[in-house]
Symmetry: C2
Subunit: 338 residues, 2 copies
């Protein structure tokens, strides 16, 4: 089986790897219909996260069940399924509370930039579509596996409500999916902080009402100017840098909320500043599994089309070029066809 392996920053290779097999009776093996490169993969690609050994890459997946372990009962071979990047048992206290990505038995589903992948804890992780989806729905279904699930979680964590004023920090695929979520939640105004014209256009298509091009404290000041001087009700922090977090907190009104979903890199939140901001803060890896049934229905009904974040499609063989295109910001997000 062919799959992508990162050897060092900037060095991603497609190579032959052992085909995935059932190891535990709760596993399933999925033949991938599509996979993709994540913004978070770039942390490794750029050398910000250390790459200490050759690492199979990718954690986003959608495809057809090939084989299941003896204890798997909720999906069967031949079904089209989507799952989260964290496998979850679906039964622990955290899963029952809707925080499947904090499952006490969670396992990261790695090595998805490949032809097939083993998914542990299949019953608690995978959700099948009612029927085989058409080719056109596959990008949007794949997006649910991470970016759309994560954008949705950002809006949930920031407590977006009908009529609220939402600001989105970050114009990557997750931020753009956050716009979709805010629109679906009935936000009254959706302000996207972006300097890149293709991303601005897609944000507006997804339902953004305003674009702010200023950054940092100028960006926060622009948001406050639009909101009676006090800030947005809900701010979606979709980057993970100290600057983005600070911009988000300073753009939030007292009593408002920041949902932060970019994996933090070097972020320290000053307690005193947070105190006097009166902002609420909640983040974490998206509990994608909680949202999957609802989001699959929205995709299949045509109500949301997050697959549009894939502005480039390449065969899996060109995975190295996919990383380069995203690293150089030539692409928002690249879909890979195994």
């Amino acid at each position: 089986m062919r799959g992508a392996v990162m050897y060092a920053p900037g060095d991603v290779r497609l190579e032959d790897r052992p085909a995935p097999e059932i190891i535990n009776p709760t596993d399933a093996v999925i033949k991938l219909a599509a996979t993709c490169v994540c913004g978070s993969d770039l942390w490794d690609y750029r050398g910000i996260n250390a790459v200490t050994q050759p690492t199979p890459m990718g954690h986003e997946y959608a495809g057809v069940v090939q084989e299941i372990g003896a204890e798997v009962s909720s999906v069967k071979p031949g079904q089209f399924v989507i799952g989260s990047f964290f496998a979850s048992d679906g039964t622990c206290p955290n899963c029952r509370a809707g925080y499947e990505s904090s499952c006490v038995h969670r396992e990261f589903v790695g090595g998805c930039q490949a032809e097939a992948v083993r998914v542990p804890l299949a019953d608690g992780t995978l959700v099948a579509t009612p029927a085989q989806p058409g080719e056109g729905a596959i990008p949007s279904l794949l997006a649910l596996s991470d970016v759309m699930g994560t954008g949705w979680w950002a809006a949930v964590a920031a407590e977006v409500t009908p009529g609220s004023v939402v600001a989105v920090v970050g114009d990557g695929a997750v931020g753009l999916c956050g716009v979709i979520a805010a629109r679906e939640f009935g936000a009254g105004r959706i302000i996207v902080m972006s300097r890149h014209e293709p991303r601005q256009k897609l944000a507006l298509e997804f339902g953004a009402t305003d674009i702010v091009t200023e950054r940092g404290d100028d960006g926060s000041a622009a948001i406050r100017e639009m909101t009676e001087g006090v800030g947005a009700d809900a701010v979606l922090e979709c980057v993970g840098t100290p600057e983005a977090m600070q911009q988000a907190l300073r753009s939030t009104r007292p009593g408002g909320n920041v949902g932060f979903v970019g994996v933090p890199h070097g972020v320290q939140v000053n307690g005193e500043e947070l105190f006097y901001s009166h902002a609420g803060l909640r983040g974490g890896p998206a509990p994608v599994r909680r949202f999957l049934p609802d989001l699959i229905a929205r995709v299949l009904d045509g109500r949301i089309d997050p697959g549009k974040v894939f502005d480039q499609t390449l065969p899996l063989a060109q995975v190295a070029e996919a990383y380069r295109a995203m690293d150089e910001r030539r692409a928002i997000k690249v879909l890979l066809q195994p």
Copy 2:
């Protein structure tokens, strides 16, 4: 008029100060029925906050309106009133959202350890009782001005709901009032972290169900052991130190909330740890004004008795001894009679 002035750490003196007067037409002057020393006054007393000039002390007050400015309409001379330590206009966007302590015109009400005090923005700040309260209700009404309002806010910020498991970090007056709030909110279990027997006893009297004496990570581990391994639903952080914040975050289940109301001193929240904790975090100076009408009714109905946190009463003349008693933890909180 006599009032307390801090000259330096450990040096609080009662001295003659000019009697407060109406300066702005929105002011009221209150003759104090009672005042007290706050845990946060000890930050100055202990030299942790700098005392750069002689500073009139105290920000907790309840008493009778003596005089009002020409534009004050909601209270009149002779009425018994309670107000927040932050004066608020009651009309700005933050006040309308219930965050009066972030009022865009907020003013700190200082110098309350005295016979009388000027309260700015009286209409947006003060709440009158329906009639003159009996002597016995005065400690509890005074407590609403800060500690009970702040404990209430901790429970609101931590989103305590009926049946939830609550942990309280800090056994000072605010933490103890947090226990009262959690009980009033219908918490199923209220775990107080305390090593001091008199405070443990008062916590149990206020409605605590469990006492944890371990601190730091041992304390968090004890909480997790009591909660299926995952942590409490709601944690009230009522101290403001890095250790207390860390203990609070590590005691919270994924999806749970920390309400932090101790003014942070040196607290930095690690973004990555907060991310993977899946905990929500909200704090800030309590919007006491939001809660006052409800809390006054609860005190006058006899449903809550936060005045019990005053385990010592002294004449204002002995204010220096009041600070010493609290600094040395001989008293939880000292009420001063002007």
